[in-house]
Amino acid sequence: MARQFTPKVVTANALLEGDVVYLTADNSWSRHHHEAELIEDEAHAQLRLLKGESQKQTVVGVYLADAKAGPNGPEPTHFREAFRTRGPSNYLHGKQEYSNV
């Protein structure tokens, strides 16, 4: 039996800065995971992935990452994706540099 589809977000890195970005429902790229479109249907996920991949001048390395619904929007389910929403644990660099001020 095929594995049940788990919800996803489309994520990538911004071409110029390399910062982590997420595809939103209105086709823009957000720097915040909770603003991503949470995709609950497998066929729709493939379409959204193609949509992300087509923006070759904006982003690099587009892929689908597991996520779940949370009170403020989608949340990561795997620790790797959780780190990508924040930045490294040894310095307050990356996204946490801006969100903590």
């Binding site: 071409l15 800065e17 070759k56 790797r80 780190f83 490294p88 660099h93």
Partner: protein
């Protein structure tokens, strides 16, 4: 130190200009990412978890004070004010922005540095003993030969698309500080029967998912045969190496699958043809390079200040006892400056630390610095009478940690805090081990110990050859750490063995503490190090310490 010839200068500037054009074309859409990726990798630019990363080669680990100052300038101007020194004697900038990278490359070229072949399936930065040119136990400074290999391998037309990456390490000392047996090719200088200097050539070593200790392919190779012999090895590997499976493409697998005898026979056959093509020009060039590595003018001076400071200042004495090594010139010492302050990130230096090290190298160290594969900075030539002043200056900028070779002098790869390949974090594990053993006051009692941590199976953190190796993995979506014991990175290279199941992130420090308390309980006396006790007793007592519940169950 080697100064670029006109040829080097023109080549490096041309590559910088090419890369500037490539970045422009990527940004304006003329190049796709698929087209651009191999080009950026040829220039050391990776895309990591949170940002780009620029890996800059520090050939054979040698830096001038001016180069170190420029690395600091680059860190301030285009990054976040620090750099990360790696186990392959590179420096990595973790936060460059793509449009700035051409300027960074130009700034590197201004001080005769580059990022060429720090990635890709090419011959990478040639690494060397970090005490080269200074060590008391050295047969000869291996860096002129390393520079010759750099020139030969850079942009070598036959070796730009090897089956996989290719790493060469070289040492001029019988005590191997360059981990030569864990490289694709390891070179150890030896004296032949007539007293002539040559090389023991080791091939097929490597860590990663299939760790292997290299085997001797030639016990003695004449110095003048080195480049043709290297060319023969890489050329045979280029044809014989597997391209069907990335995980079986390294030369260690080629040697393993074909057997060292068959591989050696193919190399010797190829060597006959290649040798004839070398007219001796390489040896003339080597003579020119050797002249540039002439030792500095060591001064003859009394060591009184050093002896007095040792008596008067216990902090200085503790630092001198751990961080100094024997120099070949009378009155001199090799200083290892620890980049492992307890709780800091192993191998990271701030721009102000880099500038201080550069200034101190100028003032007390003949303008020379080295980067070790153990992620520390070396001042190779310091007169002992200058050590008290040097130590005082280092103290002012968090650089006087007296822990070289101890439990907190840990190798750690960037792990999942930065690396896109990582399966778990390594930096915070290193930080917590260091601060824990400092707080319980056991660091000095435990003595000499090598802990090495990798955040994935690729083993950039050399965990296989750590006395204690720690490997971070992703087990069903949770960080999990495997511990290996008994590894050795020296001329007695040994791959450590896994002793049991892995540990959860928060169980690693308690496990290491149980392990080291067991060592303290079983060692013969203070002089028996952890690795010596392990070799004498085998894994049994350490396994019991790591897995006490299992041991209790077995006993019941």
């Amino acid at each position: 130190m080697y100064k670029y010839a006109d040829f080097d200068e023109v080549f490096v500037r041309a590559r910088a200009a090419q890369f500037r054009g490539q970045v422009e074309r990527r940004i304006n859409g003329s190049l796709t990412e698929d087209e651009f990726r191999p080009l950026r990798l040829m220039n050391g630019l990776y895309l990591q978890l949170h940002a780009y990363m620029l890996r800059v080669a520090i050939p054979y680990g040698t830096l001038s004070a001016d180069q170190m100052r420029q690395l600091a300038m680059i860190a301030d101007r285009w990054d976040k004010g620090y750099g990360h020194f790696t186990t392959r004697q590179n420096i990595q900038y973790n936060w460059p922005k793509l449009p700035d990278v051409p300027d960074m490359i130009d700034a590197l070229a201004d001080v005769q540095m580059h990022a060429i072949q720090t990635s890709g399936n090419t011959i990478r930065n040639v690494t060397a003993d970090h005490f080269a040119g200074a060590a008391a136990d050295e047969i000869e400074d291996p860096r002129p030969v390393a520079e010759l290999i750099r020139q030969w391998s850079t942009d070598h037309p036959e070796f730009q698309f090897l089956p996989r990456k290719f790493k060469i390490a070289i040492t001029g000392s019988p005590n191997d500080r360059a981990v030569t047996r864990a490289h694709d090719i390891g070179l150890r200088m030896v004296r032949g029967g007539s007293g002539a200097i040559g090389f023991e050539v080791i091939v097929g070593g490597g860590l990663g998912r299939t760790p292997m200790v290299g085997q001797v392919i030639r016990p003695f190779l004449k110095k003048e045969d080195l480049l043709p012999y290297l060319e023969a090895i890489v050329s045979v590997y280029n044809l014989m190496g597997r391209r069907d499976n990335k995980y079986k493409a390294r030369i260690k697998i080629t040697v393993f699958e074909n057997g060292i005898e068959a591989f050696r026979a193919a190399v010797e056959e190829r060597f006959k043809a290649v040798r004839a093509e070398f007219s001796g020009v390489d040896q003339e060039m080597l003579k020119g390079i050797e002249a540039q590595f002439a030792p500095p003018a060591f001064r003859i001076a009394p060591e009184d200040g050093y002896t007095a400071a040792r008596k008067a200042d216990p902090v200085f004495r503790a630092w001198a006892d751990t961080n100094l090594s024997a120099h070949r010139a009378p009155g001199y010492a090799i200083v290892t400056v620890s980049l492992k302050a307890h709780g800091d990130t192993p191998g990271d230096a701030t721009s102000s630390q880099m500038r201080l090290l550069a200034d101190l190298a100028d003032r007390y160290g003949h303008g020379e610095l080295r980067i070790s594969h153990e992620q520390n900075v070396i001042l190779p030539h310091v007169h002992k009478s200058d050590l008290p002043m040097l130590h005082a200056a280092l103290k002012g900028n968090g650089l006087a940690t007296a822990n070289v070779g101890l439990v907190s002098d840990i190798i750690a790869c960037p792990g999942m805090d930065y690396c896109a390949l990582a399966t778990a974090r390594s930096i915070p594990v290193a930080q917590e081990i260091a601060t824990h053993f400092q707080s319980i006051g056991l660091e000095q009692a435990i003595g000499q110990l090598k802990i090495k941590i990798s955040g994935c199976i690729n083993a950039c953190g050399h965990h296989h050859v750590g006395h204690i190796g720690i490997l971070g993995l992703d087990r069903a979506g949770v960080e999990n750490y495997q511990i290996t014991l008994g590894g050795d990175h020296t001329e007695k290279a040994t791959i450590g063995d896994k002793v049991g199941p892995g540990f959860a992130y928060d169980q690693v420090v308690p496990a290491i503490e149980r392990l080291l308390r067991a060592y303290l309980a079983v060692r013969l006396d203070q002089s028996e190090t952890f690795i010596e006790a392990f070799r004498r007793l085998g894994p049994a007592p350490f396994k019991v310490a790591l897995y006490p519940e299992e041991a209790a169950r077995d006993a019941a």
